[in-house]
Symmetry: C2
Subunit: 213 residues, 2 copies
Protein backbone atom coordinates (compact mmCIF):
# COMPACT_ATOMS: atom_id res chain seq x y z
CA UNK A 1 0.00 0.00 0.00
CA UNK A 2 2.47 2.69 0.98
CA UNK A 3 5.48 2.98 -1.27
CA UNK A 4 6.10 6.36 0.26
CA UNK A 5 9.09 4.84 1.88
CA UNK A 6 11.49 6.66 -0.36
CA UNK A 7 9.93 10.02 0.38
CA UNK A 8 9.95 9.34 4.06
CA UNK A 9 13.57 8.28 3.92
CA UNK A 10 14.55 11.37 1.94
CA UNK A 11 12.74 13.49 4.42
CA UNK A 12 14.56 11.87 7.31
CA UNK A 13 17.83 12.42 5.51
CA UNK A 14 17.07 16.08 5.09
CA UNK A 15 16.15 16.25 8.76
CA UNK A 16 19.57 14.96 9.67
CA UNK A 17 21.19 17.22 7.10
CA UNK A 18 19.66 20.26 8.73
CA UNK A 19 20.96 19.27 12.15
CA UNK A 20 24.41 18.34 10.89
CA UNK A 21 24.71 21.59 8.92
CA UNK A 22 23.50 23.73 11.80
CA UNK A 23 25.97 22.02 14.05
CA UNK A 24 28.83 22.44 11.60
CA UNK A 25 28.20 26.14 11.11
CA UNK A 26 27.84 26.64 14.86
CA UNK A 27 31.03 24.77 15.57
CA UNK A 28 33.07 26.72 13.03
CA UNK A 29 31.55 30.20 13.27
CA UNK A 30 29.42 30.19 16.40
CA UNK A 31 25.67 29.98 16.87
CA UNK A 32 25.22 33.60 15.87
CA UNK A 33 26.19 32.58 12.35
CA UNK A 34 23.44 29.97 12.26
CA UNK A 35 20.62 31.99 10.73
CA UNK A 36 17.64 30.53 8.97
CA UNK A 37 18.73 32.07 5.67
CA UNK A 38 22.27 30.85 6.03
CA UNK A 39 21.13 27.38 7.03
CA UNK A 40 18.60 27.18 4.20
CA UNK A 41 21.23 28.17 1.67
CA UNK A 42 23.67 25.60 3.04
CA UNK A 43 21.20 22.73 2.67
CA UNK A 44 20.16 24.12 -0.73
CA UNK A 45 16.52 24.65 0.13
CA UNK A 46 14.48 27.71 0.96
CA UNK A 47 13.77 28.84 4.49
CA UNK A 48 10.20 27.51 4.82
CA UNK A 49 11.54 23.99 4.39
CA UNK A 50 13.23 24.33 7.75
CA UNK A 51 9.86 25.02 9.32
CA UNK A 52 8.39 21.85 7.88
CA UNK A 53 10.92 19.94 10.00
CA UNK A 54 11.19 22.11 13.10
CA UNK A 55 8.82 24.60 14.69
CA UNK A 56 11.56 27.20 14.81
CA UNK A 57 15.22 27.88 15.31
CA UNK A 58 15.01 27.09 19.01
CA UNK A 59 13.82 23.61 18.20
CA UNK A 60 16.79 23.05 15.91
CA UNK A 61 19.16 24.08 18.66
CA UNK A 62 17.31 21.82 21.09
CA UNK A 63 17.64 18.89 18.70
CA UNK A 64 21.38 19.47 18.39
CA UNK A 65 21.57 19.63 22.17
CA UNK A 66 19.72 16.36 22.53
CA UNK A 67 22.10 14.64 20.13
CA UNK A 68 24.90 16.13 22.17
CA UNK A 69 23.64 14.54 25.36
CA UNK A 70 23.56 11.15 23.71
CA UNK A 71 27.11 11.59 22.44
CA UNK A 72 28.32 12.84 25.78
CA UNK A 73 26.80 9.82 27.48
CA UNK A 74 28.55 7.50 25.07
CA UNK A 75 31.85 9.30 25.48
CA UNK A 76 31.59 9.07 29.27
CA UNK A 77 30.68 5.40 29.14
CA UNK A 78 33.51 4.53 26.80
CA UNK A 79 36.16 6.43 28.67
CA UNK A 80 34.75 5.22 31.96
CA UNK A 81 35.51 1.60 31.30
CA UNK A 82 38.72 2.44 29.47
CA UNK A 83 39.89 4.57 32.38
CA UNK A 84 39.04 1.90 34.92
CA UNK A 85 40.92 -0.70 32.93
CA UNK A 86 44.15 0.94 31.86
CA UNK A 87 43.50 4.21 30.09
CA UNK A 88 43.79 2.81 26.61
CA UNK A 89 43.12 4.54 23.36
CA UNK A 90 39.57 5.58 22.73
CA UNK A 91 37.54 4.36 19.81
CA UNK A 92 34.34 5.12 18.00
CA UNK A 93 31.67 7.76 18.37
CA UNK A 94 32.30 11.43 18.34
CA UNK A 95 35.62 11.28 20.09
CA UNK A 96 37.56 9.75 17.27
CA UNK A 97 39.68 12.24 15.47
CA UNK A 98 40.09 14.52 18.45
CA UNK A 99 43.36 14.66 20.25
CA UNK A 100 41.87 13.56 23.52
CA UNK A 101 43.65 14.32 26.74
CA UNK A 102 46.49 12.35 28.21
CA UNK A 103 45.17 8.85 28.44
CA UNK A 104 47.25 8.36 31.52
CA UNK A 105 48.80 5.06 32.37
CA UNK A 106 46.48 4.38 35.27
CA UNK A 107 43.67 6.66 36.27
CA UNK A 108 40.72 6.34 38.55
CA UNK A 109 37.39 5.80 36.94
CA UNK A 110 36.28 9.09 38.40
CA UNK A 111 39.22 10.87 36.84
CA UNK A 112 38.63 9.22 33.50
CA UNK A 113 35.01 10.30 33.43
CA UNK A 114 35.87 13.82 34.49
CA UNK A 115 38.51 14.06 31.81
CA UNK A 116 36.11 12.68 29.22
CA UNK A 117 33.53 15.28 30.19
CA UNK A 118 35.94 18.20 29.86
CA UNK A 119 37.37 16.79 26.64
CA UNK A 120 33.91 16.62 25.15
CA UNK A 121 33.10 20.19 26.13
CA UNK A 122 36.40 21.40 24.71
CA UNK A 123 36.09 19.41 21.49
CA UNK A 124 32.50 20.46 20.74
CA UNK A 125 32.03 23.87 22.33
CA UNK A 126 29.04 24.83 20.20
CA UNK A 127 27.18 21.61 20.97
CA UNK A 128 28.02 22.00 24.64
CA UNK A 129 26.68 25.56 24.52
CA UNK A 130 23.47 24.29 22.94
CA UNK A 131 23.18 21.75 25.74
CA UNK A 132 23.67 24.16 28.60
CA UNK A 133 24.32 27.80 27.83
CA UNK A 134 21.63 28.56 25.26
CA UNK A 135 18.34 28.38 27.05
CA UNK A 136 16.71 25.51 25.28
CA UNK A 137 13.34 24.50 26.58
CA UNK A 138 14.64 21.16 27.78
CA UNK A 139 13.52 20.26 31.26
CA UNK A 140 15.86 18.69 33.79
CA UNK A 141 15.92 16.91 37.08
CA UNK A 142 12.39 15.63 36.64
CA UNK A 143 10.93 12.37 35.40
CA UNK A 144 9.88 14.25 32.27
CA UNK A 145 13.50 14.82 31.30
CA UNK A 146 14.38 13.28 27.95
CA UNK A 147 16.18 9.98 28.22
CA UNK A 148 19.63 11.09 26.98
CA UNK A 149 19.73 13.71 29.69
CA UNK A 150 19.06 11.26 32.49
CA UNK A 151 21.51 8.81 30.94
CA UNK A 152 24.38 11.27 31.06
CA UNK A 153 23.59 12.05 34.66
CA UNK A 154 23.47 8.34 35.40
CA UNK A 155 26.99 7.73 34.14
CA UNK A 156 28.30 10.49 36.36
CA UNK A 157 26.47 8.96 39.31
CA UNK A 158 27.84 5.52 38.61
CA UNK A 159 31.40 6.81 38.45
CA UNK A 160 30.95 8.38 41.87
CA UNK A 161 29.16 5.52 43.56
CA UNK A 162 31.39 2.61 42.69
CA UNK A 163 33.44 2.65 45.86
CA UNK A 164 30.69 2.30 48.41
CA UNK A 165 28.17 0.05 46.77
CA UNK A 166 25.73 -0.73 49.50
CA UNK A 167 26.53 1.90 52.05
CA UNK A 168 22.94 2.95 51.84
CA UNK A 169 23.07 6.71 51.35
CA UNK A 170 21.66 6.83 47.84
CA UNK A 171 20.18 10.24 48.53
CA UNK A 172 23.64 11.51 49.32
CA UNK A 173 24.92 9.97 46.10
CA UNK A 174 22.43 11.98 44.08
CA UNK A 175 23.60 15.17 45.74
CA UNK A 176 27.25 14.26 45.27
CA UNK A 177 26.55 13.70 41.60
CA UNK A 178 24.95 17.12 41.29
CA UNK A 179 27.96 18.78 42.86
CA UNK A 180 30.31 16.76 40.69
CA UNK A 181 28.40 17.75 37.59
CA UNK A 182 28.32 21.37 38.64
CA UNK A 183 32.06 21.44 39.15
CA UNK A 184 32.67 19.87 35.76
CA UNK A 185 30.23 22.23 34.12
CA UNK A 186 31.85 25.20 35.78
CA UNK A 187 35.29 24.14 34.65
CA UNK A 188 33.99 23.53 31.14
CA UNK A 189 32.27 26.89 30.73
CA UNK A 190 34.90 29.00 32.47
CA UNK A 191 37.57 27.33 30.40
CA UNK A 192 35.61 27.91 27.20
CA UNK A 193 35.26 31.57 28.17
CA UNK A 194 39.01 31.90 28.71
CA UNK A 195 38.43 32.70 32.34
CA UNK A 196 40.90 30.18 33.76
CA UNK A 197 44.61 29.76 33.19
CA UNK A 198 44.88 27.39 30.24
CA UNK A 199 48.07 25.71 31.36
CA UNK A 200 46.62 24.52 34.67
CA UNK A 201 43.78 22.45 33.20
CA UNK A 202 45.24 19.11 34.27
CA UNK A 203 46.11 20.46 37.67
CA UNK A 204 42.53 21.58 38.23
CA UNK A 205 41.15 18.24 37.14
CA UNK A 206 43.46 16.30 39.44
CA UNK A 207 42.58 18.52 42.32
CA UNK A 208 38.87 18.15 41.74
CA UNK A 209 39.08 14.37 41.53
CA UNK A 210 41.23 14.20 44.65
CA UNK A 211 38.74 16.28 46.60
CA UNK A 212 35.76 14.24 45.52
CA UNK A 213 37.26 10.81 45.95
Amino acid sequence: MPPHQRRDRQRADRHRLILATARQIAETEGWDAVTTRRLAEAIEYSQPVLYSHFAGKDEIVAAVALDGFAELTEALRTRSVAGAAAGGQVRGGQVRGDHVGGGRASESRLGAVARAYLDFAAAHPAVYAAMFTLHTALTFATPQSPEPLRDAFGVLRDSLGEGDEDTGDERDLETRTEVFWAALHGLATLTAGHRLRPAQADERLDLLVAQLA
Copy 2:
Protein backbone atom coordinates in the same frame (compact mmCIF):
# COMPACT_ATOMS: atom_id res chain seq x y z
CA MET B 1 37.06 78.67 32.34
CA PRO B 2 35.01 75.45 32.13
CA PRO B 3 31.54 75.68 33.56
CA HIS B 4 30.63 72.58 31.61
CA GLN B 5 30.42 70.86 34.91
CA ARG B 6 26.67 70.70 34.82
CA ARG B 7 26.63 69.21 31.34
CA ASP B 8 29.26 66.69 32.34
CA ARG B 9 27.33 65.78 35.43
CA GLN B 10 24.09 65.40 33.50
CA ARG B 11 25.88 63.27 31.02
CA ALA B 12 27.26 61.05 33.77
CA ASP B 13 23.79 60.80 35.25
CA ARG B 14 22.39 59.70 31.94
CA HIS B 15 25.21 57.19 31.64
CA ARG B 16 24.19 55.64 34.93
CA LEU B 17 20.53 55.85 33.97
CA ILE B 18 21.16 53.81 30.87
CA LEU B 19 22.93 51.09 32.83
CA ALA B 20 20.36 51.03 35.60
CA THR B 21 17.50 50.86 33.12
CA ALA B 22 19.12 48.15 31.04
CA ARG B 23 19.72 46.17 34.17
CA GLN B 24 16.19 46.63 35.42
CA ILE B 25 14.62 45.52 32.16
CA ALA B 26 16.99 42.56 31.95
CA GLU B 27 16.26 41.52 35.51
CA THR B 28 12.49 41.67 35.07
CA GLU B 29 12.05 40.50 31.48
CA GLY B 30 15.37 39.00 30.46
CA TRP B 31 18.14 40.33 28.25
CA ASP B 32 16.15 39.58 25.11
CA ALA B 33 13.79 42.36 26.12
CA VAL B 34 16.66 44.85 26.31
CA THR B 35 16.55 46.27 22.80
CA THR B 36 18.00 49.60 21.80
CA ARG B 37 14.54 50.96 20.98
CA ARG B 38 13.06 49.73 24.22
CA LEU B 39 15.97 51.09 26.21
CA ALA B 40 15.90 54.45 24.42
CA GLU B 41 12.20 54.82 25.08
CA ALA B 42 12.67 53.96 28.75
CA ILE B 43 15.27 56.66 29.30
CA GLU B 44 13.19 59.06 27.18
CA TYR B 45 15.83 59.67 24.52
CA SER B 46 16.26 58.46 20.99
CA GLN B 47 18.41 55.50 20.08
CA PRO B 48 21.49 57.38 18.82
CA VAL B 49 21.95 58.84 22.30
CA LEU B 50 22.84 55.36 23.51
CA TYR B 51 25.64 55.25 20.99
CA SER B 52 27.11 58.50 22.30
CA HIS B 53 27.67 56.69 25.61
CA PHE B 54 28.47 53.16 24.48
CA ALA B 55 29.87 51.78 21.27
CA GLY B 56 27.04 49.28 21.05
CA LYS B 57 24.73 47.01 22.96
CA ASP B 58 27.55 44.64 23.85
CA GLU B 59 29.35 47.43 25.62
CA ILE B 60 26.27 48.19 27.69
CA VAL B 61 26.05 44.56 28.75
CA ALA B 62 29.75 44.57 29.55
CA ALA B 63 29.34 47.69 31.71
CA VAL B 64 26.52 46.03 33.65
CA ALA B 65 28.73 42.98 34.07
CA LEU B 66 31.57 45.07 35.40
CA ASP B 67 29.29 46.69 37.97
CA GLY B 68 28.15 43.22 38.86
CA PHE B 69 31.67 42.09 39.61
CA ALA B 70 32.18 45.02 41.95
CA GLU B 71 28.94 44.25 43.75
CA LEU B 72 29.73 40.57 43.95
CA THR B 73 33.10 41.38 45.47
CA GLU B 74 31.49 43.58 48.08
CA ALA B 75 28.86 40.97 48.88
CA LEU B 76 31.51 38.30 49.30
CA ARG B 77 33.65 40.56 51.50
CA THR B 78 30.74 41.52 53.71
CA ARG B 79 29.41 38.04 54.18
CA SER B 80 32.92 36.72 54.55
CA VAL B 81 33.62 38.62 57.74
CA ALA B 82 30.04 38.25 58.93
CA GLY B 83 30.19 34.51 58.39
CA ALA B 84 33.54 34.20 60.14
CA ALA B 85 32.22 36.16 63.11
CA ALA B 86 28.75 34.84 63.81
CA GLY B 87 26.65 34.87 60.66
CA GLY B 88 24.85 38.06 61.49
CA GLN B 89 22.48 39.99 59.35
CA VAL B 90 23.85 41.47 56.19
CA ARG B 91 23.78 45.15 55.41
CA GLY B 92 24.33 47.51 52.53
CA GLY B 93 25.10 47.08 48.88
CA GLN B 94 22.98 45.14 46.50
CA VAL B 95 22.07 42.50 48.98
CA ARG B 96 19.76 44.62 51.05
CA GLY B 97 16.16 43.84 50.38
CA ASP B 98 16.84 40.28 49.31
CA HIS B 99 15.87 37.47 51.57
CA VAL B 100 19.36 36.11 51.82
CA GLY B 101 19.92 32.51 52.76
CA GLY B 102 19.93 31.08 56.22
CA GLY B 103 22.46 33.11 58.10
CA ARG B 104 23.37 30.11 60.14
CA ALA B 105 24.42 30.42 63.73
CA SER B 106 28.03 29.55 63.09
CA GLU B 107 29.43 28.86 59.66
CA SER B 108 32.89 28.55 58.25
CA ARG B 109 34.20 31.49 56.35
CA LEU B 110 34.38 29.29 53.31
CA GLY B 111 30.75 28.34 53.67
CA ALA B 112 29.71 31.93 54.17
CA VAL B 113 31.48 33.04 51.01
CA ALA B 114 30.07 30.17 49.01
CA ARG B 115 26.58 30.95 50.23
CA ALA B 116 27.05 34.64 49.45
CA TYR B 117 28.15 33.77 45.93
CA LEU B 118 25.13 31.59 45.22
CA ASP B 119 22.79 34.09 46.83
CA PHE B 120 24.12 36.81 44.59
CA ALA B 121 23.68 34.70 41.47
CA ALA B 122 20.15 33.77 42.50
CA ALA B 123 19.18 37.31 43.46
CA HIS B 124 20.50 38.96 40.28
CA PRO B 125 20.32 36.32 37.56
CA ALA B 126 20.44 38.79 34.68
CA VAL B 127 23.52 40.53 36.02
CA TYR B 128 25.14 37.18 36.65
CA ALA B 129 24.33 36.15 33.09
CA ALA B 130 25.93 39.34 31.82
CA MET B 131 29.02 38.54 33.87
CA PHE B 132 29.44 34.99 32.67
CA THR B 133 26.93 33.56 30.23
CA LEU B 134 26.67 36.32 27.66
CA HIS B 135 29.99 36.46 25.92
CA THR B 136 31.13 39.91 26.82
CA ALA B 137 34.56 40.82 25.58
CA LEU B 138 35.95 40.98 29.10
CA THR B 139 39.29 39.27 29.46
CA PHE B 140 40.13 37.12 32.45
CA ALA B 141 42.98 35.43 34.21
CA THR B 142 45.48 37.90 32.87
CA PRO B 143 47.05 41.05 34.28
CA GLN B 144 44.91 42.98 31.82
CA SER B 145 41.75 41.88 33.57
CA PRO B 146 39.72 44.78 34.93
CA GLU B 147 40.22 45.36 38.61
CA PRO B 148 36.76 44.29 39.86
CA LEU B 149 37.29 40.92 38.22
CA ARG B 150 40.56 40.27 39.98
CA ASP B 151 39.10 41.55 43.22
CA ALA B 152 36.28 39.03 43.19
CA PHE B 153 38.73 36.25 42.51
CA GLY B 154 40.90 37.53 45.34
CA VAL B 155 38.13 37.24 47.91
CA LEU B 156 37.52 33.65 46.92
CA ARG B 157 41.22 32.94 47.21
CA ASP B 158 41.42 34.52 50.65
CA SER B 159 38.50 32.48 51.91
CA LEU B 160 40.27 29.32 50.81
CA GLY B 161 43.74 30.17 52.04
CA GLU B 162 43.07 31.28 55.57
CA GLY B 163 43.83 27.96 57.24
CA ASP B 164 47.34 27.43 55.99
CA GLU B 165 48.82 30.89 55.88
CA ASP B 166 52.48 30.29 55.21
CA THR B 167 52.49 26.74 54.03
CA GLY B 168 54.11 27.94 50.90
CA ASP B 169 52.09 26.42 48.09
CA GLU B 170 50.65 29.60 46.69
CA ARG B 171 50.52 28.08 43.24
CA ASP B 172 48.29 25.35 44.57
CA LEU B 173 46.12 27.97 46.21
CA GLU B 174 45.51 29.62 42.87
CA THR B 175 44.43 26.33 41.38
CA ARG B 176 42.22 25.52 44.36
CA THR B 177 40.57 28.89 43.93
CA GLU B 178 39.87 28.20 40.28
CA VAL B 179 38.25 24.88 41.12
CA PHE B 180 36.25 26.47 43.92
CA TRP B 181 35.04 29.19 41.60
CA ALA B 182 34.19 26.68 38.90
CA ALA B 183 32.11 24.63 41.32
CA LEU B 184 30.24 27.69 42.52
CA HIS B 185 29.69 28.88 38.97
CA GLY B 186 28.43 25.48 37.93
CA LEU B 187 26.00 25.34 40.83
CA ALA B 188 24.83 28.87 40.05
CA THR B 189 24.18 28.32 36.37
CA LEU B 190 22.72 24.84 36.64
CA THR B 191 20.44 26.06 39.39
CA ALA B 192 19.37 29.06 37.34
CA GLY B 193 18.61 26.73 34.44
CA HIS B 194 16.45 24.50 36.67
CA ARG B 195 18.79 21.63 36.08
CA LEU B 196 19.24 20.67 39.72
CA ARG B 197 16.71 19.66 42.36
CA PRO B 198 15.70 22.93 44.00
CA ALA B 199 15.14 21.50 47.46
CA GLN B 200 18.70 20.19 47.79
CA ALA B 201 20.44 23.55 47.37
CA ASP B 202 21.67 23.71 50.96
CA GLU B 203 22.71 20.09 50.88
CA ARG B 204 24.84 20.70 47.80
CA LEU B 205 26.49 23.73 49.32
CA ASP B 206 27.34 21.91 52.55
CA LEU B 207 28.77 19.02 50.61
CA LEU B 208 30.91 21.27 48.46
CA VAL B 209 32.30 23.15 51.43
CA ALA B 210 33.02 19.93 53.27
CA GLN B 211 34.90 18.52 50.33
CA LEU B 212 37.00 21.62 49.85
CA ALA B 213 37.83 22.29 53.47
